[in-house]
Amino acid sequence: MDLIKSVLNNNSKKKKSNQLLETWKRLKKSKLALVGFVILIILFLVAIFANVIAPYGYAEQNLKATFQFPSAKHIFGTDEFGRDIFSRVIFGSRISLEVGFIAVTIAVIIGGLLGAVAGYYGGKIDNFIMRSMDVLLAIPQILLAISIVAALGPGIINLMIAVGISSIPGYARIVRASVLSVKYQEFVEAARAVGSSNSRIIFKHILPNVMAPIIVQATLGVALAILTAAGLSFIGLGIQPPTPEWGSMLSSGRGYIRDYWYMTMFPGLAIVITIFALNVVGDGIRDALDPRLKN
C-alpha cells in the first residue's frame, strides 16, 4: 500500500512539473508577455536594491536645489523640497509592489476561502456567502476602498487592508465558479470515498485544481490594487508624505504642473510601466493556461 502511494505521489509530482514546464513553454511563445516578465523582474530588483540604486534618500531635502529640471545630477529633477524625484520613484516601487501583492494576498486568501466553501457546500451557505458578495459588488471598488480607508484611517497597512477587502468579492466568485466545475469530478468522489474530511478535500484536492483562473486573476489583480492604492493616495486618503508613493507624488506635483511638468511625468510613467507589465504577463498566463489554446 505504501509502495503504491509513493509511486502515485511521484507520478503526480512529475505530472505537476510537466504541467508547469508546458505552461512556461506556452508563456514563452508570447513575446509581449516575455517583455512584461522582464520588466517585472527589473522592477523587483529595483525595489529590492533601492537603497543601492537610488543616489539620494527618499526624504533627503536640499532647499537650495528645489524645482530643478532633469539634469545629470538629478535624472528626474527635484521637487518643491529639493528631494530627488528619481530616488523617490525608485523607493516608490517598493511601496507599490508591497501594497499590490499584500492586498491581493488578503483578497485571494479570504475570497478564495469564501468561494471554496460556498461552491463546495452549496445550499444556504452558498446563498448567504454569494448574496453578501453581491452586496459588496454593488459598491464600486474604489468607493468601497475609500469608505474602508475613511473608517480605518490613512496609512500603508490600512491601505492594503482596504484594497484587499474591496477585492474579495471578485475572487470569491471566481473560486466558487471553479469549484463548482470540479466538485463532481471523480477524484473528489474518490477522496470522499477513502474518508477524507471536507476541509482536506477542499484544500488538498479541489483548490490545487482550480489555481489557474486564480493565478490569472491575481496577476491582473496586483495591477488593479496598485492603481487603486495610487488613486487613494492621489486624493490624500492613502499613504501620507513623506513616504514616496507614486500616487501621492502625482498629487503633490499637480499643483506645479504649469511650470514643472516633470514632477508628474516620471511617477506617472512608473505606474504605467508597472501596470502594463502586470497586464501583459496576466494576459500571457491566461493564454498559456487556456486549454483551448493548448494545440
Binding site: 454593488a138 464600486p140 492603481l227 502625482l250 504642473i257 504649469r258
Partner: protein, 350 residues
C-alpha cells in the same frame, strides 16, 4: 409587455430682462420610446429582479453604516466644534441617539430611510443629505454618461476593425494602445490632458463643468480606460463569432462583408460587450471620484471625498448608498437589455 423610456432634456436659455438682470428660461423637452420585450414571464422576471434589489440595498446600508460607525470622530463634536463644552456635546449626543447601541442606531437610520426617505443632515452644511446629493448627482451622471458615449463610440468600431483585420498593423497598434490605455491611471491621464490642451495649447479649460468645452477633457479622461477595455472585449467577442460556421455560410452566400460583420457577426457578439459596458458604467460612477477631483467638478465623488476629510459621515453614507443603488439599477437594465438583444433569451420569457 412594453417598457417605455423617457429622455428628458433641461434647456436653459439665458436672457437679459427689461431691468437688465440676467435670467434663465427653463424648458423641458421629453422624448419617449417603447420597446416590446415579451410576455408575463418577463414581467415576473423583472419584478423579481427589482425585488432582489431590496436586500442588496439593505445590505449596502448595513455595510456603509457599520463603516461610518467605526470611523474615529465624534459627530457631536464635529457639529459643535472641538472647543464646545462637554455638557453641550453630551446633550447633542443624547439628542442624536449616539449613545444607543449600534443596532438601535442602524434600525433608526433604516426606518428614516424607508419611511421618510431621510438619510440625515450634513454635519457641516446642515442641509439634508439628499439635497446635497441631488445638487451634485447631475454632474456625476453627465460625466459618466458622456464618458460612456465616448468609450462606446470609439471602442466598439476599433474592436470590430481589429477583429476583422486580425494580425494587421491596425490590430497590433490598437491592441498595444488598448493595453497602454488600461495601464494608464485615470488621474495621470487627466493631468497630461490638462498639461497639453489647457496649459500648452490653451484649447480647452482645465477645470469646471459649466459648458460643453468644460466637459471634453473630463469625459476623455474618465472614458479612456473604458475605451481600452471595450476595444479588447469587442475584438475578442467578434473573433469568437467570426470563426463560427454560420458566418462562413453567410459569406458563401455572397453577402457583402459589411453586412456580414455588422448584422450577423456584431449582433451575435453583443452580449459580452453589453456586459462589459454595464460594468464599466458602474466603474465610471466610482472612477468619477478621481476625475472630479482633478477637474474640480462639483459631483458626488468630490462631495464624498470632501465629506470624508471633514468627517461628515451622513454625506459619505448617503453618497455611497446613492451610487450603489444607481449601479445596481444600471446592472439590472443591462440584464434586461439581454432579453431585447438576444432572441434566445427573449424566447424564454415570451
Amino acid at each position: 409587455m412594453d417598457i417605455t423610456f423617457y429622455i428628458i432634456f433641461h434647456i436653459n436659455k439665458k436672457y437679459i430682462d427689461t431691468e437688465g438682470y440676467d435670467n434663465v428660461n427653463l424648458s423641458i423637452v421629453c422624448y419617449n420610446f417603447s420597446i416590446k420585450l415579451g410576455g408575463e414571464k418577463l414581467k415576473k422576471y423583472i419584478l423579481r429582479r427589482f425585488a432582489l434589489l431590496i436586500p442588496v440595498i439593505i445590505g449596502v446600508t448595513f455595510i456603509v453604516f457599520t463603516l461610518m460607525f467605526i470611523t474615529p470622530g465624534d459627530p457631536a463634536k464635529i457639529i459643535l466644534g472641538e472647543s464646545a463644552p462637554a455638557a453641550s456635546v453630551k446633550q447633542l449626543r443624547d439628542e442624536m441617539g449616539l449613545n444607543k447601541p449600534f443596532l438601535v442606531q442602524y434600525g433608526t437610520y433604516l426606518k428614516n430611510l424607508v419611511v421618510h426617505q431621510d438619510i440625515g443632515k450634513s454635519y457641516v452644511t446642515k442641509r439634508p443629505v439628499l439635497k446635497e446629493i441631488a445638487d451634485c448627482f447631475p454632474a456625476t451622471f453627465k460625466l459618466a454618461s458622456l464618458s460612456m458615449i465616448f468609450a462606446i463610440a470609439i471602442g466598439i468600431p476599433i474592436g470590430i476593425i481589429s477583429a476583422v483585420k486580425q494580425y494587421s498593423w491596425f490590430d497590433t497598434f490598437s491592441m498595444i494602445f488598448a493595453l497602454i490605455g488600461i495601464s494608464m491611471p485615470v488621474f495621470w491621464m487627466g493631468i497630461l490632458l490638462i498639461l497639453l490642451f489647457a496649459v500648452q495649447l490653451h484649447w480647452l479649460p482645465a477645470s469646471g463643468f459649466s459648458s460643453i468645452n468644460h466637459m471634453i477633457l473630463p469625459a476623455i479622461t474618465l472614458g479612456a480606460q473604458s475605451v481600452a477595455i471595450i476595444t479588447r472585449m469587442t475584438r475578442s467577442s467578434m473573433l469568437e463569432v467570426i470563426r463560427q460556421d454560420y458566418i462562413r455560410t453567410v459569406r458563401a452566400k455572397g453577402q457583402k462583408e459589411s453586412v456580414v460583420v455588422l448584422r450577423h457577426a456584431l449582433g451575435n457578439a453583443l452580449i459580452p460587450i453589453i456586459t462589459i459596458v454595464g460594468l464599466q458604467f458602474g466603474g465610471l460612477l466610482g472612477g468619477a471620484v478621481l476625475t472630479e477631483s482633478i477637474f474640480s467638478i462639483p459631483g458626488v465623488g468630490r462631495l464624498m471625498v470632501d465629506a470624508i476629510k471633514m468627517r461628515d459621515f451622513p454625506v459619505v453614507q448617503g453618497g455611497v448608498l446613492f451610487i450603489a443603488i444607481t449601479f445596481s439599477i444600471v446592472n439590472l437594465l443591462v440584464d434586461l437589455l439581454y432579453a431585447y438583444v438576444d432572441p434566445r433569451i427573449k424566447s424564454q420569457y415570451s
